[in-house]
Subunit: 432 residues, 2 copies
């Protein structure tokens, strides 16, 4: 018979059970934190109409999308593709179910998305994203910008031990500055320069701005501006000291001041800071933008980011749905944590007990022992096998924390000696 | 601007948050039961090579498969498709990671699968399956046939209140019978007739067997055979009373006797019964087969089924991996339960508290209240809005169980009166 190649498709993460259990623990912890912060959970289909997915997408997305084709066509097939993020399906969901939702709609989505990125270490084509968003109808309080940041931070804290820094900016500040400097027309190009400023030298940033034919005094202003970062009071003072007369600029400064103040009230003083280098590449952000880094592990890059968008669903409806959201890209983040040996504290054994009945005469009692332990919330595996006891103990030591061998004597006395597989400690439990 | 059609793609289930929360509660309960029974969790990619997916598939599967095509091709793209079940990816996983796994490999998979079925009420193109399987290397104790049944039953019991009946047969019994009757060559046709016997009259079943040119005495034997059902002792006695001299038949009877006895020891006497009408359409089952019904809701059909297969991965390797598995098709099952008003007891509100600060002066104290409640495991939503208090109370009553309004007095006294939104009962909590 012809054998088939069984290696995994490239770019797809596939874990062994003892790693998967850590991944799931983290995923569940994030989900629980989102839930505790009052976000409602929804799921949208993995497959969406291509025209919906691409309504607002740029060139890269269009190139990376996975189209879906039925082998045998049925009459109602539209042009379809796999979703590449949760934001586009959320926009469709909100428009479609608008009359059944209450606003502001605080929503979390946790699921797999798909992008045909070129194979590269730590880049995956199928990946989990864990998002929270708040969607308003017509208006949405700026306090939610702080709410999503605080929620994401609480979630990240459950599994990230090194210090985190949430760097926050506001697109209105930079846009207002560029308007005031009469540079609004090339703002997109300037955004790109600033977005890359951290990866190059100060001199290179200056040259890149010069290449855009910006005058020296304006370049100086921009370079002063992007150096502004730090805690609220000092950063806001530095922004005001720039003496920019522009409504958008002032609105942006007022917003970042408010967001950072609200975050201080949530206990994030020193964690959430202003940082004018933060841009976020995506076009649709219009206000608050943020990225989260681990200052002790700079190479890791941003582990969680997001921002405010003026109108979630402008492609589908005339109604206005302003929103703010964040996303944790868990598949890549998990890969990074694993590569940096930062998963040490996690328990990679999901099974608590392996019970080994010595013959089928003990199946009945073994089953009762298992049920008693399961009622206490323990995970219990019964090993049915006619292999040697040594092999069975090896199985237990690979899979569980405790092992109990159940033979005639145990069944008769209804007591089992359990061995802790790491310490070797023994404890006998009497069953009723 | 051109507006885009935002209706969901047909055949995809999409729930509102208050229904989604019930779906997830059930999904989590099943997952927890699988875990308590010692099954290890894995996830495989949604996308697999088409040749792997179709290696063993029949005509219908091939027609229903969703092919996946990258928009911009990269060099390493193989012919790919969305998985239509968990069994085929599991086979690939086991072969690929064989040296890192311990056998028997007790495994659970919970995820979305895809089939392009024709649109029909309660039939979904994207659906959740929650599977447990046990895979052995070379051998696998028959006791696992009972283990998966017991595990699935424990999981179903967490959310299905009406009586369940698990109908069990064994393919060896019927195959042995047909061998003994010299009908092995047309066994596939006879399987089909028996598989449909419940949907037609006894007379029609008889005619269908006559159409296969089977002699009257053999037809009588088959009809006697398929009437056999009920608790272990009586059913096994009735099978033995047929006096079939065939090794396979006898092995099958011994197996079903053992599986039912083991299930009795697990407390499933009267729930798990023998029933010779059970066939399971799929070719790959070779021993135990089972289906679960709700006798008080016969129209619902089987809510959970599975069986034993001789060799999970025969298409990919020369090694032998016998297995047994069950699958709960939750998307369809949830639809059935909802349509039959069988989700009554579930709490459809996931948020416990809505806190309403009256102005931003109270954000700090509100945040402290929220954190205190969250530490007790409560889900707490803070509503930021400048709408009227009436609108805010409406939001709270739609989203949560309790509401607390926080103004100047509350912040000063650090005490909040919470109103239970259904009963109207009030309780004041003093915060530290």
């Amino acid at each position: 018979m012809k054998r088939i190649n069984t290696s995994a498709i490239s770019g797809m993460q596939e874990l062994l059970p003892n790693t998967q259990v850590i991944f799931n623990t983290i995923k569940d912890q994030i989900a629980r934190m989102y839930h505790l912060h009052g976000y409602q959970y929804i799921e949208t289909p993995t497959i969406e109409r291509t025209d919906i997915l691409l309504a607002k997408a740029g060139g890269d997305t269009e190139k990376q999308i996975y189209k879906v084709v039925k082998t045998a066509e049925t009459a109602d097939e539209a042009d379809q593709a796999l979703r590449f993020d949760h934001t586009v399906p959320l926009a469709r969901y909100v428009v479609e179910h608008e009359s059944d939702l209450t606003f502001p709609f605080k929503v979390t989505q946790i699921g797999r998305n798909f992008r045909g990125e070129r194979s590269q270490k730590g880049r995956f084509r199928e990946f989990y994203q864990l998002d929270v968003d708040v969607i308003g109808r017509n208006t949405l309080s700026i306090a939610y910008d702080a709410d999503v940041v605080e929620t994401a931070y609480a979630a990240l804290k459950t599994f990230i031990k090194p210090k985190m820094l949430i760097r926050i900016s506001n697109r209105k500040i930079l846009s207002g500055l560029l308007e005031a400097l009469d540079l609004a027309e090339i703002s997109k190009d300037i955004f790109d320069v600033i977005d890359h400023a951290e990866k190059v030298t100060a001199e290179q940033t200056k040259s890149a701005l010069e290449a855009l034919k910006i005058s020296a005094d304006k370049i100086a202003k921009i370079l002063d501006f992007i150096k502004i970062n730090g805690e609220r009071e000092a950063a806001v003072a530095a922004l005001r000291a720039l003496e920019i007369k522009n409504d958008k600029f002032e609105a942006g400064v007022a917003e970042i001041d408010f967001v950072l103040k609200t975050l201080e009230q949530h206990g994030l003083a020193g964690v959430a800071i202003a940082d004018m280098l933060i841009i976020r590449g995506l076009d649709y952000y219009t206000g608050t933008v943020f990225e989260t880094i681990l200052p002790e592990y700079k190479g890791i890059g941003s582990i969680c980011s997001g921002g405010r968008y003026e109108n979630l669903a402008s492609n589908y409806t005339d109604q206005s749905f302003p929103g703010v959201g964040i996303s944790i890209g868990l598949t890549r983040l998990f890969y990074i944590l694993e590569s940096n040996q930062m998963l040490g504290e996690f328990q990679s054994t999901s099974v608590d007990y392996v019970l080994i009945p010595l013959s089928d005469a003990e199946y009945g009692f073994t089953s009762q022992v298992a049920e008693t332990l399961r009622k206490e919330g323990k995970s219990v595996d019964i090993l049915y096998s006619d292999k040697k006891l040594g092999d069975k103990m090896k199985y237990a030591s690979k899979n569980a924390k405790y092992v109990g061998v159940i033979g005639e004597n145990e069944a008769e006395s209804r007591s089992v000696e359990f061995k802790q597989l790491i310490s070797g400690e023994k404890e006998t439990i009497q069953f009723a």
